[in-house]
């Protein structure tokens, strides 16, 4: 594709993220859909939208499966094909990929891709159990290894190999909470101090409470179409110029490396090649900071710094808004929140706002090229997209 637009984003919507008591997943999604529909007056949703792909991880939360059609129904789009995509925390990253397949196939010109999850009505212990289902059952879950535990195993190995410190992990939390304080839709909109992060209780050593993303309710979606049709709907489309997804072994223990995610490396290389861009040409990124350590590992796997030097990169401040490559301007999973099924397209929503100059107080000046990185489980799925604005 040689850097040409693959598909174009013509609209986007996101519910307020947070503790959304009394709402079901379908109702949260209708909030995101309404924003996407009203943001693009030239779009006639009932006439133009031909398919829907919805990321949703767990039917255990609400005793509700069959989420594709459920959500299409509550978005007022009954009749169109609607399919749930499940790839754990990368479920809506995978939905976006499915939407791209649908548009490129020619079967559907305008497609809604999104995701949603309602989590906060469950106890922490229940959520811990449901999230762990994204990892290997017979050897990881069965032996008491939790989801934070898997990232803690990687963090321990990284600290041992490269000298990464708990303070460097905490700096990711401080930065992302600062960014979250600038996002009116973020779950947590308060800054935290390094001391607060460093003295919070352990969840899975060396990861503490402030190293973990939030249990959050939320929904998000974007509307995509063929690049040649984008002008019909908006004079400010955002083009997707790189799109890739890769997989790895479900068990962390079977992987060659414990300090890097091979699926991310593969997806990143494919997406960079497709976009004909190098890591240093990326101006901002939303990366999958389900845990602070995951953001550091993403810096390395995406080529923002050399292997082993992510601790130095966070210390340099270059990934804050105002730095060379702001990362997680939305607040990331850490402060904006992580309603797992919604996360992939919530990243795309942030990129849409940034590249159309609509990100308010957290706007990255003159942003033109951005990247999103969405991983599932402990990294058995990784989805990378590269975006180019047209402003």
């Amino acid at each position: 594709l040689n850097g040409k637009p693959i598909v174009s984003i013509i609209s986007a919507g996101m519910s307020k993220f947070g503790k959304r008591e009394g709402l079901l997943t379908r109702e949260l999604f209708s909030e995101a859909a309404f924003e996407a529909f009203t943001r693009c007056p030239k779009l006639d949703p009932k006439k133009d939208i031909k398919a829907m792909f919805i990321g949703h991880m767990g039917e255990a939360y609400e005793h509700q499966g069959h989420t594709g059609s459920t959500i299409a129904d509550w978005a007022g789009l009954t009749g169109i094909p609607a399919t749930r995509t499940e790839a754990a925390c990368a479920s809506s990253g995978a939905a976006l990929r499915s939407g791209i397949y649908a548009v490129l196939s020619g079967l559907a010109d305008v497609v809604v891709v999104g995701g949603a999850e309602k989590m906060t009505h469950r106890t922490t212990s229940e959520v811990t159990e449901y999230l762990a289902m994204a990892s290997d059952y017979p050897f990881e879950q069965w032996h008491g290894i939790t989801f934070p535990g898997l990232f803690a195993l990687m963090a321990t190995a990284h600290m041992h190999t490269y000298g990464t410190t708990e303070e460097q992990l905490a700096l990711v939390a401080v930065k992302n909470h600062y960014h979250g304080s600038l996002n009116p839709k973020a779950h947590m909109q308060k800054e935290i101090t390094l001391q607060m992060a460093m003295t919070s209780r352990y969840v899975a050593w060396p990861l503490k409470l402030y190293d973990c993303s939030l249990i959050t309710d939320g929904a998000s979606c974007i509307v995509i179409t063929k690049p040649e049709l984008a002008d019909k709907y908006t004079d400010q489309p955002v083009h997707i110029v790189g799109s890739a997804q890769a997989s790895d072994t479900i068990g962390l223990y079977e992987r060659k490396s414990l300090t890097s995610l091979n699926a991310t490396k593969i997806a990143a290389k494919t997406a960079y090649d497709m976009a004909q861009l190098k890591p240093k040409e990326i101006e901002l990124a939303e990366v999958h900071d389900c845990f602070t350590f995951a953001e550091l590992m993403a810096y390395e796997d995406l080529g923002f710094c050399k292997i082993g030097e992510s601790g130095k990169l966070i210390e340099s401040g270059q990934t804050r808004i105002g730095g060379k490559i702001p990362v997680n301007t939305s607040g990331g999973l850490k402060a904006k929140g992580h309603p797992v099924g919604a996360t992939g397209t919530a990243q795309a929503y942030e990129m849409y706002l940034q590249l159309t100059g609509q990100a308010g107080k957290r706007q990255v000046k003159d942003a033109k090229v951005g990247l999103t990185h969405n991983i599932g489980g402990s990294g058995a799925t990784s989805v990378v997209h590269i975006y180019r604005g047209t402003q």
């Binding site: 212990s125 032996h143 535990g149 190995a157 962390l252 079977e254 414990l258």
Partner: protein
């Protein structure tokens, strides 16, 4: 060793219940699988033989779990790690009879076969663990 048993995770745990740590060796490409698989992920062959693996290994990485699902909550904080056995085979598990100060990457650990505690319900898999 008999070749009658299927190369499955269920069978791996059955052997474990008999105090045997067994892996599946691909007869075509020689790759050893722990846990065993019915299809070799390297050469896509279905032909295997069982090989016995030593339970002695070294610790590659570890964590202490402080927040756990309900069924493990009584054990917190507990240590889990990934252990490298012979031939570069790796397996995760709990590490028992050790405190955090004693845990070191690279230290020698031995697999303890454990027992199957829930004979009525699927899955009937013994919970092995590692010890210094």
């Amino acid at each position: 060793m008999s070749v009658q048993e299927p190369f499955t995770i269920e069978q791996f745990y059955k052997f474990l219940g008999q105090q045997k740590l067994m892996a599946g060796k691909c007869l075509k490409c020689g790759k050893i699988h722990l846990p065993p698989r019915p299809l070799c992920d390297n050469c896509l062959s279905q032909d295997f033989e069982w090989v016995s693996i030593s339970g002695k290994g070294k610790l590659l990485t570890y964590t202490f779990i402080h927040i756990a699902p309900e069924q493990f909550q009584a054990l917190v904080p507990y240590a889990v790690g990934i252990v490298e056995l012979e031939n570069g085979l790796k397996i995760p598990g709990m590490i028992q009879k050790i405190n955090q100060e004693q845990l070191k990457i690279g230290m020698a650990l031995t697999l303890d076969f454990g027992t199957c505690s829930s004979p009525q319900q699927w899955p009937q898999w013994p919970r092995y663990c590692f010890r210094p």
